[in-house]
């Protein structure tokens, strides 16, 4: 009997704002390849993403999910049908309901939270209905954004909840001002889950300490990287760039530490003026970063690319001489692996999950801007260092694959089946 999993997600390519979407796509694909049947629930938007594997069924969720396309008119859903119709009518009048997935999830607007709440409510109901037909073995929810639905559905269908922490509220707010109610949801999820998956040991320890659950209940499953998607053979010349390039790529938010990157850039330029710094990504810190770059007097050396799609991202890696991940708190740090498969030497914040498993990188404290600058300079100046880091990075990153991530996730599933 094939395992049947109800997986609750939030984003999926092409709608991605971070590692969560990549993880879910690659995980479901690899699970599908291993014969696991996955129903992947996610908010509905205008375009339904393609399923990564025939065993994976994408179930877009909004009020309309309860009619038409997923064939819920059946008599067996009778009692619910009327109920859902009511929800549908109330939500239909809400202009924002269709827009919530297009809303950037980093802009924690009121509508966003409302949308999350509604999504969770609908998913819980829908899983309960679908279970009658699909007979799920487990529920697997990802991050606080699907936690409520996971907990509620798990209780209703009496199946164990597996919960993955891709990050905690502490990470996302750089420990500064976490929302108590989000922490409460995370804590509830940690307590209600039969087993927890953390994307690094760092996150495992955070979850264990902050939410008071035994570390034995938490397994570490590292992210993978898909070589074929991020490897590029482009060269600087193709883009008319000469000189050294130092790259930051990620959400421009306090969690990711782009401001430390800028300060390090200033230090580097004091000793080596012919370096270009690229800041790629979007986010609420952009205005501050622009004004910082101007007041530091380095605006002409810094390029802000704005949002870069996954399709174009490999080009950025291919022209970079150094990749910097200056995160204040980074549960994993997928982009480091992406840079590494391109042979880009990485300078990685010690407060990151990826730094605990990678040898061939340089580690820094995110706040130690001088040290960050000194390491950037060292990679740019010392050819042998760059070569060794590059060779080491390529071979080390090749050990990471989503197949491995899926295998380890499957292990967690199987242990929780008895």
């Amino acid at each position: 009997m094939a395992l049947k999993i109800a997986m609750l997600g939030w984003e999926f390519p092409p709608f991605i704002s971070g590692g969560l979407g990549v993880h879910c796509f690659e995980l479901t694909k690899a699970l599908g390849e291993r014969g696991v049947l996955v129903d992947f629930y996610m908010p509905k938007s205008q375009i339904v993403p393609d399923s990564p594997h025939p065993n994976v069924k994408i179930i877009p969720v909004d009020y309309s999910s309860f009619e038409g396309e997923i064939d819920l008119h059946d008599a067996e859903f009778g009692p619910y049908y009327k109920f859902l119709k009511t929800i549908a009518q109330t939500t239909q009048s809400d202009q924002n309901s269709r827009e919530f997935v297009e809303t950037e999830s980093e802009s924690y607007g009121l509508n966003f939270f409302e949308a999350v709440g509604r999504y969770n409510f609908l998913v819980a109901k829908l899983v309960e209905i679908m279970h009658k037909k699909r007979h799920y073995d487990l529920i697997h929810a990802h991050d606080w954004i699907t936690a409520k639905a996971g907990i509620s559905a798990s209780k209703k269908i009496r199946k164990k909840l597996i919960f993955t922490f891709h990050s905690t509220e502490f990470d996302r707010t750089a420990n500064l001002s976490p929302f108590d109610w989000i922490l409460a949801i995370e804590s509830e999820a940690a307590k209600n889950a039969a087993h927890i998956i953390a994307v690094s040991n760092m996150t495992r320890m955070h979850v264990s300490e902050k939410f008071q659950v035994s570390p034995n209940k938490i397994s570490v499953v590292y992210n993978g990287v898909d070589m074929s998607k991020f490897k590029s053979n482009a060269k600087k010349e193709h883009f008319g760039i000469s000189g050294s390039v130092v790259l930051f790529h990620g959400r421009l938010s306090i969690q990711k530490g782009p401001d430390y990157f800028l300060r390090a850039a200033k230090r580097v330029l004091q000793l080596k003026p012919d370096v270009r710094f690229i800041i790629s990504g979007k986010g609420d810190m952009l205005p501050q970063l622009l004004s910082d770059a101007i007041s530091l007097g380095i605006m002409d050396k810094v390029t802000f690319t704005g949002y870069v799609s996954n399709e174009h991202l490999p080009y950025l890696y291919s022209i970079a001489d150094v990749y910097v991940l200056p995160s204040v708190s980074e549960p994993f740090g997928l982009t480091v692996l992406e840079a590494m498969i391109n042979g880009v030497p990485a300078i990685v914040s010690k407060s990151s999950g990826v730094s605990e498993i990678i040898n061939h990188c340089l580690r820094v404290d995110f706040w130690d801007v001088d040290e960050m600058a000194s390491k950037i300079l060292a990679v740019l100046k010392y050819t042998e260092l760059k070569e060794m880091l590059s060779d080491g990075a390529k071979s080390e990153a090749s050990y990471f694959s989503w197949k491995k991530t899926a295998d380890e996730t499957l292990l967690v599933y199987n242990k929780n089946m008895s």
Binding site: C361, L362, D370, M388
Partner: protein, 435 residues
């Protein structure tokens, strides 16, 4: 009938500072590059755990056995410099002086700075460092060493012939099968086509103490002095050469492993056997050489490979070593004693050792000895290379100044000479006209 030739090596490097590119420079380069507080900390810790108790025990053993117990030792200059700066260090030197005056402790020479200068194509740097070591041993212990041990027992035909040309009678190196072939390490040999006697470490019996003594996985654990003496007595050959780090006693094996009790009973247990006696290195060299050994490449006592890959095994180490050679040429031109001293402190092989990235199994050993705790070999490379580059920059500036001064002196001399020539020419012209 084997004799026991015990040799210990004593060394403390001057460890580097965490060097930042963004700080106000100090004029004193030793303060600038070396972490004196960390060095003092390590020195005092090692003195207390190892040097002080072990040397006092050795002195007692020499006295108790009335001349029948003897051993040999080499101490690096970087060790002695640090010892002279602290009270516990000066006491260590005093104990060594007492031991030296008994005639049962023989000092060997090595490079003052525990460097890899023997591997530079130009051997003059190596020769100067060995001479400097010889001087400090003469000054402190009133001995002129006749036997040489190179850093980490690094040996090759080439190094042996340089050492021979410096007048040494013998040299120590590793006795490993891939060099010896059918030969036993338990005899005296000569270098290839030369007259320098070579003593080879019996690595198995040496490592039984130096490495395996506290290893619970070892079939012969625990090792007792009487058991060990019986092994030595049963060994075939003229000599059993037991070469190890002095830090074996109290550092590599802590006090609670019983290592001091082992050392305390080792001489008396050995002397119970008619066929065992203790000899210093020079006494051992008096035995006839059985054959010559041919080592065309660099051999050492380090790691499984017994080569120089622990210091020069990767690109990063190669880059640093190349930089050292470049700087070496420049310091020769500058010819300033203090600058050379700093440069040579930077040559201590430990700095390169911490950049080793060999198989992580070996790497673990390297990590164990690394004082730069959280640092990866990459971090250590960056720090070391940044220091070397800074030093080179300072050197270049000094050379510029010197070159300027010299060119001024030269042009002044030239002016004087021209004037002389002119004067003498006009003088002779005048003289001629008068004739």
């Amino acid at each position: 009938m084997p004799d026991i030739c015990l040799y210990f090596h004593m060394h403390q490097p001057k460890r580097l500072k965490k060097y930042s590119l963004f700080h106000y420079k100090q004029n004193d380069l030793e303060q600038e590059y070396f972490n004196s507080s960390m060095n003092q900390h390590y020195f005092e810790k090692a003195s207390e755990k190892c040097y002080s108790p072990a040397l006092k025990l050795l002195l007692r053993l020499v006295e108790e056995n009335h001349g029948k117990f003897a051993f040999s030792l080499s101490v690096t200059g970087t060790f002695l410099e640090q010892a002279l700066k602290t009270k516990s260090g000066r006491e260590i030197i005093e104990t060594l002086q007492q031991l030296s005056s008994t005639g049962r402790l023989e000092f060997l020479d090595e490079t003052y700075y525990h460097s890899l200068a023997s591997l530079f194509p130009d051997k003059s740097e190596f020769i100067s460092q060995v001479k400097k070591h010889s001087e400090i041993i003469k000054d402190l212990f009133n001995q002129t060493p006749k036997v040489f041990r190179n850093t980490e027992l690094i040996y090759s035909n080439e190094i042996a012939s340089v050492v021979e040309s410096m007048g040494y009678k013998g040299i120590l190196t590793e006795g490993i099968e891939h060099v010896l072939g059918w030969k036993s390490p338990n005899y005296v040999y000569k270098n290839l086509n030369g007259n320098l006697k070579v003593l080879l470490r019996n690595y198995k019996l040496s490592d039984d103490v130096g490495y395996r003594f506290s290893a619970k996985w070892w079939a012969d654990f625990p090792l007792t002095a009487d058991k060990y003496a019986s092994w030595l007595s049963g060994t075939q050959g003229d000599t059993v050469n037991l070469f190890m780090d002095f830090e074996t006693f109290g550092e590599h094996h802590w006090k609670d492993t019983g290592i001091f009790e082992f050392l305390g009973h080792f001489p008396s247990e050995s002397l119970k056997y008619q066929n065992l006696s203790f000899k210093t290195v020079s006494e051992t060299l008096e035995k006839e050489a059985k054959d010559q050994i041919d080592v065309p490449y660099n051999l050492s006592w380090a790691d499984m490979e017994r080569d120089v890959s622990a210091w020069l095994g990767n690109k990063l180490q190669g880059a640093c070593f190349f930089k050292l050679q470049q700087i070496s040429e420049k310091t020769k031109i500058l010819n300033d004693e203090n600058t050379s001293h700093i440069f040579r402190l930077l040559q201590t092989s430990d700095h390169l050792y911490y950049i080793c990235t060999k198989s992580w199994a070996d790497g673990d050993v390297h990590k164990h000895f690394s004082p730069y705790k959280e640092n990866t070999p990459y971090d250590n490379f960056i720090n070391y290379m940044n220091i070397l580059r800074d030093f080179e920059m300072q050197l270049d500036q000094k050379l510029d100044v010197k070159a300027k001064e010299q060119s001024e002196v030269l042009s002044f001399q030239k002016m004087l000479n021209t004037k002389n020539i002119f004067e003498s020419a006009s003088f002779s012209a005048l003289a001629a006209s008068r004739r």
